[in-house]
Subunit: 431 residues, 2 copies
């Protein structure tokens, strides 16, 4: 990926960062880069994620999925980092295999999927490092049961990705299921380029090597200067803008295929940096659609936002047929791709003209290689930002409270958190 | 809808609003309510939107869609307010008719829909008040052409919703197409309960009367006090929290069927209130999925957020099969619906325990009646908030710049905005 931070400079935007401030910040980037390199070398928790382009074995993943590679529909049962990486890759790329991500426990929604899909031609990809994630295990029990009710032997149609030990590992061993390991030292939101994200891609027939090669090429750019490394340029600029008041980061790809990527980014950014009262709030947007929804706010609302655009240079285009309506004749000389490109440039310029900071990330096209680079690059940007904020990028302690309360409410043990639920302060206004 | 603002009180949360401050604010609410009632009575621009439950004629809509009511797939070609209301309703409710919303001009994505769908059994619902919206007209020209190429007479399969005059009105007249009128005085983002939002619902066979009745019941609650009107309680609380530092409003329904509703809300809130440097930034979230993505940030990040939950009391449930894994036995005693409810209560309590403000909106279930009430209620909340901010809720002037630039870039006239695009400040970091 290439990054253009010109519209984040103080000469253009407010908040903005001056060139001199960026140069001062670059010495912090150099120190952070040393810390990151050391973490990668020592395979420390979290930093190990940035070694995945070298560590992940595509042959092992392809061999594991072989028994279910003929699936017409693949259910991925996982949530958060166990789902979003896989969904980002498979939703970005074309495939004859349909993918369904069961990342919620809404009963009507789960049922509608199970009723709609012919289970004889389906397979299950269940993903949970601990093997105890409540939502994932509940959905897995439901899906497994539905396969049995449909007369399909689920043990022939299931692949497991989990940790070294735990209930899912035991299950895989007991039923001799194909299984892969969630790599050590890699938090869920950083695991797209491991088996966690790539099993679904393998079933869909995507080019795993190209995903890893794109990521490896991005890894090669990690140097001690934000002026030489696109990933660090992005991470450092987002951090600097947040410090100057841009507490919101709106991720706005101009490609429908990258809609799920914006969700993946939102988890990466929120869960990694949102701690100690710090962290930008990620907002998921989509060009051009959100020009007709969010642009008014981005341009004329509070000056608290960085808008991050993603553009692609190439893709299949489609001409707009000519029309005899004179007011619309200008459209008939163009293609949809040209319209999309013009809308992007116009929107970017409209924010700059209003002094609202924005950054452009450029991909050549949406394919495995570029996608691998984007995922790796944003992970590296996030790790850098975590160093600059000096937060613990790789933990998410604040979610534990609700997990204990949920378990307690369902009778899974005694937890004081569950008791606090009953003490809710009410001020009800009823119809 | 019922609203519980207990967790937004200063005794629970920071930022929070004290009971005494709410009582002081209530006199502003009373004054704003008088202004709103007067606007409704005089059918003023924008305020007229709140009269839709009385003005919209379901028989007229059903009669207009009759020629295409047999469609197996309905393409709605529209963007922003011409798409999101219809999508919110049809994505929330079950139907045998598939709906596709062409609300973007990405060529690969448009082509993939047109190739996937058998056009003989499809129909087109094109929506643009002006009849000149570039994205909508470009897509309409493309889809019409695809119908012709497939040997389908598009003039037999198209319904138009547009203003009194303009290219789409001319087209409808010329080809004698069934057509409906975008009501006067109703901005796109407030038009879900008019033909704009209800044509797709009618084709899908939903109960239009119940949608309007639910909205009318909400209209009955509009009184001069936030303590008696759920919609005003929500609008006033969101406004008060924004003034106290909660510049972000995360809309988090605990129902997959309401995912598009969160997008609709994001347009309503952003485009109506995001002006003069004011306005909360809406964030679209989804329970329980985003507990594994955004909750860390909501609980431990900056204290700049209101989280708005939507819960439903009833729905079809599904049991979780029993398991012999002792760590998971507690799940086997529950249903997916119970798990969803426990996760919601736990998440709500976890934010309250951390002092993060949140509001609960309760629906009885997701059906036409409750949905009509939710849409109307949030519109009324937004109009009230606009009065409290004293902004012009019903305009969106900041989007004009990019529209002119787009048109200029495509050769549709001379616009200085298009020239500004070429002057972009660059600071590129390349791989």
């Amino acid at each position: 990926m290439n990054v253009d931070i010109g519209n984040a400079l103080a000469t253009v935007a407010s908040p903005g960062v001056s060139r001199a401030s960026l140069e001062r910040l670059d010495s912090q980037v150099a120190a952070a880069h040393e810390r990151i390199e050391r973490g990668m070398e020592n395979r420390e928790h979290g930093y190990e994620s940035l070694n995945l382009p070298q560590r992940t074995d595509p042959d092992e993943i392809r061999a594991a999925v072989e028994p279910i590679a003929d699936a017409e529909v693949l259910f991925t049962v996982g949530i958060g980092g166990s789902s979003l990486g896989a969904a980002t890759i498979t939703n970005a790329l074309e495939s004859d295999t349909e993918t369904v991500f069961l990342d919620n426990v809404d009963p009507e929604w789960v049922t509608s999927h199970l009723e709609r899909i012919s289970l004889e031609n389906a397979a299950i990809n269940v993903v949970s490092r601990s093997g105890t994630t409540a939502e994932t295990l509940a959905n897995f029990l439901v899906v497994r049961d539905a396969f049995e009710s449909a007369g399909v032997d689920w043990t022939e149609r299931t692949i497991v990705t989990t940790g070294e030990a735990g209930p899912l590992r035991d299950l895989a061993n007991r039923h001799d299921l194909p299984s892969l390991k969630v790599p050590d030292g890699v938090p869920g939101r950083f695991s797209a380029l491991s088996a966690v994200g790539m099993v679904a891609a393998a079933v869909c027939g995507h080019d795993l090597e190209a995903l890893l090669e794109g990521a490896a090429a991005e890894r090669e750019t990690l140097t001690g200067s934000l002026f030489e490394c696109p990933a660090y340029a992005y991470g450092a600029t987002a951090y600097a803008l947040d410090k100057r008041g841009a507490g919101v980061n709106a991720m706005m790809p101009y490609a429908e295929s990258l809609e799920t990527y914006a969700e993946w980014f939102a988890q990466l950014w929120a869960e990694s940096l949102g701690k100690d009262g710090l962290g930008q709030t990620p907002v998921r947007a989509l060009g051009v659609t959100d020009q007709h929804s969010q642009l008014q706010l981005y341009r004329a609302g509070p000056r608290d936002k960085l808008v991050t655009f993603i553009t692609t240079q190439e893709g299949t285009d489609r001409g707009i047929p000519e029309t005899d309506v004179s007011e619309l004749a200008y459209l008939g000389d163009a293609t949809l791709g040209e319209l999309l490109a013009a809308e992007f440039e116009a929107t970017e310029a409209s924010l700059a003209a209003a002094g609202q900071p924005n950054v452009r990330i450029e991909l050549e096209r949406v394919d495995e290689y570029e996608l691998g680079g984007l995922l790796y690059g944003m992970e590296a940007a996030c790790v850098l930002a975590g160093e600059l904020y000096s937060v613990n990028t790789f933990e998410q302690p604040a979610v534990e409270w609700a997990k204990k309360a949920t378990r307690g409410l369902l009778g899974g043990g005694e937890f004081e958190e569950a008791e606090a639920v009953a003490d809710k302060t009410e001020l009800r206004v009823e119809r």
